[in-house]
């Protein structure tokens, strides 16, 4: 019976929960980010402008949270989608998860590195 395939899967509550938590973080931080970066500064985005904004510690924190939450949410979301289609078995799902974690951490590092010169 194919139903038995399911029995190899365990857990999932954390990824589900963090998807929600990051979503809530995202909606708050994204609103701030969009308003400050895009609405208020439309057409005037340049490095000076961004630097000025990021000099504000609060807004920097927002961007860092945004980065972390965004990456987690995006990649976990991607994982959820992919697990519906091909990554159904336990082994495939596990491989996918590991790969995505690596990609995620890499992006996180890269993104922080990218933000660094603005902040310092």
């Amino acid at each position: 019976m194919r139903a038995e395939v399911i029995s190899t899967h365990r857990g999932g509550v954390w990824s589900w929960l963090f998807q929600r938590i990051t979503a809530v973080l995202l909606i708050v931080c994204l609103a701030i980010h969009l308003i400050f970066t895009h609405i208020l500064n439309i057409g005037e985005l340049d490095s000076a402008n961004v630097a000025a904004r990021l000099a504000n510690a609060g807004l920097t924190a927002v961007d860092i949270i945004l980065l972390a939450a965004g990456i987690y949410h995006a990649l976990n979301g991607l994982r959820m989608v992919l697990m519906d289609y091909w990554f159904t078995s336990r082994t495939r799902a596990l491989t996918l998860t590991i790969v995505l974690w690596v990609v995620g951490l890499a992006f996180m590092g890269y993104g922080t590195w990218a933000l660094w010169p603005w902040i310092s």
Binding site: I27, L30, I39, N41, D46, A74, G77, Y110, G111, A114
Partner: protein, 132 residues
């Protein structure tokens, strides 16, 4: 017979006519678009490291790009508000009347989008931001 013509069994909407189905499909698509965008966004932002940032920004300030930006805003808004609906349902809110909640969320999408569009078109037409 005293029988009044009456709606019988639950005559659900059927597969491709159901609101929830489209809501989910669009949600999934918008999510994927956002994933791609996020990747691009991080890379673009990192250009600050290579002193290409301002050049890129000028490129993005072109009206065409602003229109594309608007499309992105739709995706974000849709995803965000439908996401809120989903989180509400996770708390057990609105499961009985998910369609009502969905359309309310869509109304918020439209309102937010109108604001964004106003800002954007002001810029496209006048070349200036609303705040400046």
């Amino acid at each position: 017979m005293s029988a009044k013509p009456r709606e019988t069994a639950n005559v659900g909407a059927g597969l491709w006519k159901a609101t929830g189905m489209w809501a989910w499909l669009l949600f999934r698509i918008s999510g994927l678009i956002l994933v791609l965008y996020l990747g691009a966004h991080i890379i673009v932002t990192s250009m600050g490291q290579f002193d290409k940032f301002d050049g890129l920004m000028e490129f993005f300030d072109k009206p065409v790009m602003v229109l594309l930006d608007l499309a992105l805003v739709v995706a974000v808004l849709y995803h965000a508000l439908n996401g809120v609906r989903i989180i509400l349902m996770d708390f057990g809110v609105g499961i009985q009347r998910h369609k009502v909640v969905f359309w309310s969320a869509m109304a918020v999408v439209v309102i937010c989008f109108a604001i964004f569009a106003w800002v954007a078109f002001t810029y496209i037409i006048t070349g200036e931001g609303v705040t400046s």
